[in-house]
């Protein structure tokens, strides 16, 4: 069964007299448990596609279904629930809540989900250890480096084990070792828990981890190919 089905997605932006093509008739089928990289230059539509699939942005036309449910037809509350329970986001900028500590940021989604305090603590400490932030749990984002903040954001995205992770440049601020560790973690989640990963990246090293690579340009899919898994 297809996890994500995108059919003829169009999203245009008006910029002065010019029309920018965010998504231009994009159609995709993404199987459950896929590990996919979206590549392409800046402005090619990678982030727009992730936002559309995650229900963060509306479409001008086209249909998106996740597990058979039409995302483009959902209301605000239903979209919020979809994101809360089924999708993990890693944003281009780290996007942490500045008044919460690293652990509290990681716990945020679980807190909204209503997970018990003990369970939240247990899972957040474990995931922070896995992303190499042991001992930094109580630091606020301002007390963490860019790479550390990105790892907190990644931990937040995967801690509640969503079925789909949408990651926009997740390794942008990570050194090679951290990047390797993070990608290993992603792959493990993908293999063991069948979590679907859709990662937008410029990083060739990240692309090497993907089993399927989708290239975009000017809002269009220019290449969609399977590749040898690293």
């Amino acid at each position: 069964m297809s996890t994500i089905s995108c059919s003829d997605l169009c999203k245009y932006y008006q910029q002065g007299d010019a029309v920018i093509k965010g998504l231009d008739h994009v159609s995709l089928e993404i199987e459950q448990g896929s590990f996919i990289c979206l590549s392409g230059p800046s402005g090619s539509g990678k982030t727009t596609l992730l936002n559309a699939i995650g229900g963060l942005d509306s479409l001008d036309s086209g249909e998106i279904s996740i597990d058979g449910e039409r995302v483009d037809l959902l209301g605000k509350a239903a979209l919020a629930d979809l994101r809360l329970y089924r999708i993990g986001f890693v944003f281009q900028a780290y996007n942490l809540i500045p008044v919460l500590s690293a652990r509290e940021n990681v716990e945020f989604v679980m807190q909204v989900q209503g997970v018990s305090a003990a369970e939240r603590k247990n899972r957040s400490l474990r995931i922070l250890q896995e992303v190499g932030l042991e001992g930094m749990e109580d630091r606020r984002p301002a007390q963490l480096s860019g790479g550390q903040q990105q790892r907190v954001a990644v931990a937040r995205a995967i801690v509640s084990q969503p079925k789909l992770v949408l990651a926009d440049e997740p390794t942008a601020n990570l050194d090679s070792a951290s990047m390797e560790k993070l990608m290993e973690h992603f792959r493990e989640l993908n293999r063991v828990h069948k979590v679907t990963f859709l990662i937008a990246t410029h990083d060739q090293r990240v692309m090497a981890w993907a089993e399927r690579r989708i290239s975009m340009e000017d809002g269009r899919v220019t290449r969609d190919e399977l590749q040898q898994i690293r």
Binding site: N51, G54, L56, D57, S58, K76, A77, A80, D81, L82, R83, L84, Y85, F89, F91, N95, I97, P98, V99, L100, E104, F108, V109, Q111, V112, Q113, G114, R156
Partner: protein
């Protein structure tokens, strides 16, 4: 899924102190607003209470019994016999705490230099004292000893107007039931002071028996004044007395005898609410501005929370919790400030510089703030309820951001 309140509270509390200067200024504004609401209400309550107290003391009594036509023509022709057994039964019963009968007629008082129109009260001194005449209000000489005391007690101002003094004789002149002149000579045995200058200038106390004899009305009286247990609820006692007196008698509570006072009492509650709402309106601009600024500064975070699965309603709750905390802290400070201001003023505020104006309203020149728990509660409820309603605008604005647009804000 709604976010648990404790989690929203943690977020709201921390967000509140991100810009602590702005929060402190807003807290100060709310505290001062609450203080102004509570303290000014206590002053107003004190003034109205004083007006009612003075009004009841001036009548006197919580209710009065007259001949039906007496109030239109308060002359001796509208006197009536002393209380009979049935009326005495009610007056000596559970509901009445004190009573007295008096003759109250218009009269002319003359000294060797001046004369004045006054109200002559023929009283039983024991009854007057029971109804609230204070012995300490006698500033010279003494009060009447008994109903047959041949002296008179006059007010301080009247003494000055008549250019006379304690111990001198005055002549009191009125009309008997046949409209013939009835007069008598009296020695001034005492001088009293009163909160209201009009009382000092317009009331003359003489012995009841002496006045009855002078007017030739036997044991007749003009009015019976009665004190009940609760001045705010005189109706049961009025009904009990009405049931035992003839139909040509009029039994009226102080609320009917002094409609101005009764209206003041009724208007007071509405005025307090209007006063509180007006102060809140001034506050609300600051509150909305603070919350709007807080929302504008956190658009990106709000977008993030929405992106992570927080429903728009949860965003509304978060802003409302933040507003509730701000209001609660401000109110707590304002309440403490108001209580701390009222307690040291329990012995009264001397407003004698505006005593004439106060007197015109029927209030005395010492203002006693009256802090009532219902007023305190009302001020807090007004601020919380209107504050939360006012906060709905910034909260609604915050919930309307589209995640993708909010996240792209820098």
């Amino acid at each position: 899924m709604a976010m648990p309140l404790n989690a929203l509270s943690v977020l709201a509390w921390r967000n509140l102190w991100r810009n602590y200067r702005r929060t402190l200024i807003m807290l100060l504004a709310i505290a001062l607003g609450a203080w102004a609401m509570i303290f000014m209400t206590a002053l107003l309550r004190g003034m109205v209470d004083d007006m009612v107290r003075q009004g009841i003391a001036a009548l006197p009594g919580h209710l009065q019994l007259h001949a039906a036509a007496y109030r239109d023509d308060p002359s001796v022709t509208h006197s009536f016999p002393a209380p009979d057994r049935a009326l005495l039964g009610v007056l000596g019963g559970e509901q009445a705490t004190a009573w007295t009968s008096r003759i109250k007629v218009p009269a002319m008082i003359s000294s060797e230099y001046e004369n004045r129109g006054v109200t002559l009260l023929g009283v039983d001194p024991g009854g007057e004292l029971a109804l609230g005449f204070k012995p300490e209000d006698i500033v010279e000489g003494r009060f009447l000893d008994a109903a047959d005391d041949p002296g008179v007690v006059i007010g301080r101002k009247l003494l000055q107007r008549l250019e006379t003094r304690l111990g001198k004789r005055v002549v009191l002149m009125s009309q008997d039931p046949d409209n013939a002149i009835a007069e008598g000579g009296f020695r001034i045995v005492g001088v009293f002071k009163a909160e209201l200058g009009s009382r000092e200038e317009g009331i003359v106390y003489a012995g009841r028996d002496v006045v009855q004899a002078m007017l030739g009305i036997g044991t007749g009286v003009s009015e019976i004044a009665v004190l009940g247990r609760d001045y705010q609820a005189p109706e049961p006692l009025v009904a009990a007395i009405r049931a035992v007196v003839p139909a040509d008698r009029e039994v009226l509570s102080w609320l009917e005898l002094d409609p101005y006072l009764a209206t003041m009492m009724r208007v007071m509650n509405g005025f307090v609410l209007v006063w509180m709402v007006v102060i809140f309106l001034a506050l609300s601009f600051g509150l909305v501005n603070t919350l709007m600024m807080a929302v504008f500064e956190r658009v990106r975070e709000i977008g993030l929370m929405r992106a992570l699965g927080m429903r728009p309603s949860a965003i509304v709750y978060q802003i409302l919790v933040e507003s509730a905390m701000l209001l609660a802290l401000g109110l707590l400070t304002g309440n403490l400030l108001a209580i701390a201001t009222v307690i040291p003023l329990k012995d009264g505020i001397d407003v004698s510089v505006v005593s004439q104006g106060m007197e015109m309203m029927g209030a005395s020149s010492v203002l006693y703030p009256v802090l009532l728990w219902p007023d305190l509660l009302l001020a807090n409820v007004v601020v919380i309820v209107l504050g939360m309603i006012t906060s709905l605008l910034p909260a609604w604005r915050a919930a309307q951001y589209r995640p993708v647009e909010a996240l792209s804000r820098t």
